[in-house]
Symmetry: C2
Subunit: 151 residues, 2 copies
DNA sequence: GGCCCATAAGAAAATCATTCTCATTTGCAA
DNA sequence: TTGCAAATGAGAATGATTTTCTTATGGGCC
């Protein structure tokens, strides 16, 4: 069973467990999400799904994302442009670094920073419920010997 | 000279330095921003300013915020609801903790977490350009002796 | 396999923050 | 003062997302 199939099975059981129907559209969207290894927005998911079923509507994508989010099956992120982007929640918690030049999204996780956030909240008298951490960076050039001037 | 007046003077010199005009509307909006000790959105700024000049338009608030942001005079944040909120940049860098029950915004700063973010980016081969860090938390009840059951 | 009907889908209108357009006003340098 | 580029006010436009309304359908039950 492929990773994609396993994710779809998880999605389906989450829906079933909540007493929700497994429609053709949901099945298709689940497949798109399970196959995604990036952070597509609603339009991106719609485009990928529409290729398989040209009767699908964008409303259904939005509705399905809302259902899946409330089931905890996916995570929604809004980076700097404010547009909602989605990824399946079938993975350990991580945060994101966005390449400011290319827009590429790189995932990372750090126990140290997770712990530090909890501690900061605690010092302020709060229990940390969730957080948003996004790093925006520029690729470093690998250090190298300065080239000799030519000519 | 009050802190408010000093902030206004800074704002004005920033505008003048960029060759921009000091209009009545901008003067008013600068005052509202200088006096603010919270994180108002455009409508909030408009409401406060409108009380002093009922000819002001919301478009002008948005335009002015864009100008001020490009001058580095204010900072713009978009917390979970995606609405842009503003604060004057006349203060040291800090991040925010949002009380999930009351919506209250608490400012904090931590050299440790700033450094850790730089290090994480560096380990990924990136130079940190900026970041977004928001903690969402719930007020802790102060630990207390369990009350004896009454009656 | 059909039946029923609450749930879900499609299409299009509505919403809401923000930006843009354009006619009119105004800051400010000369 | 004058001239004019820059700025404003009012309202239209935009774009992501949600809602409305009518029609379609998943899936438990016979
Ligand atoms: Mn991710
Ligand atoms: Mn702040
Ligand atoms: Zn994290
Ligand atoms: Zn910070």
């Amino acid at each position: 069973m492929s990773e994609t199939d396993r994710r779809i099975a998880v999605f389906e059981s989450q829906l079933k467990g909540a007493g929700l129907r497994m429609t053709q559209q949901r099945r298709l969207i689940l497949r798109v999400l399970a196959e995604a290894d990036d952070h597509p927005d609603a339009k991106g998911i719609f485009t990928r799904a529409f290729a398989h079923d040209p009767t699908l509507s964008l409303s259904t994508v939005y509705r399905t994302m809302k259902v899946l989010e409330s089931q905890g099956a996916i995570e929604r992120h809004a980076f700097e442009d404010g547009i909602s982007r989605y990824e399946h929640a079938d993975q350990e918690h991580h945060d994101h670094l966005i390449d400011v030049d290319s827009g590429e999204v790189i995932e990372f996780s750090s126990d140290a920073i997770e712990e530090l956030q909890r501690r900061i909240a605690a010092e302020l008298g709060y229990e940390l419920v969730r957080h948003r951490l996004e790093l925006y960076g520029r690729k470093k050039q690998p250090a190298r010997k300065p080239a000799r001037k030519r000519g």
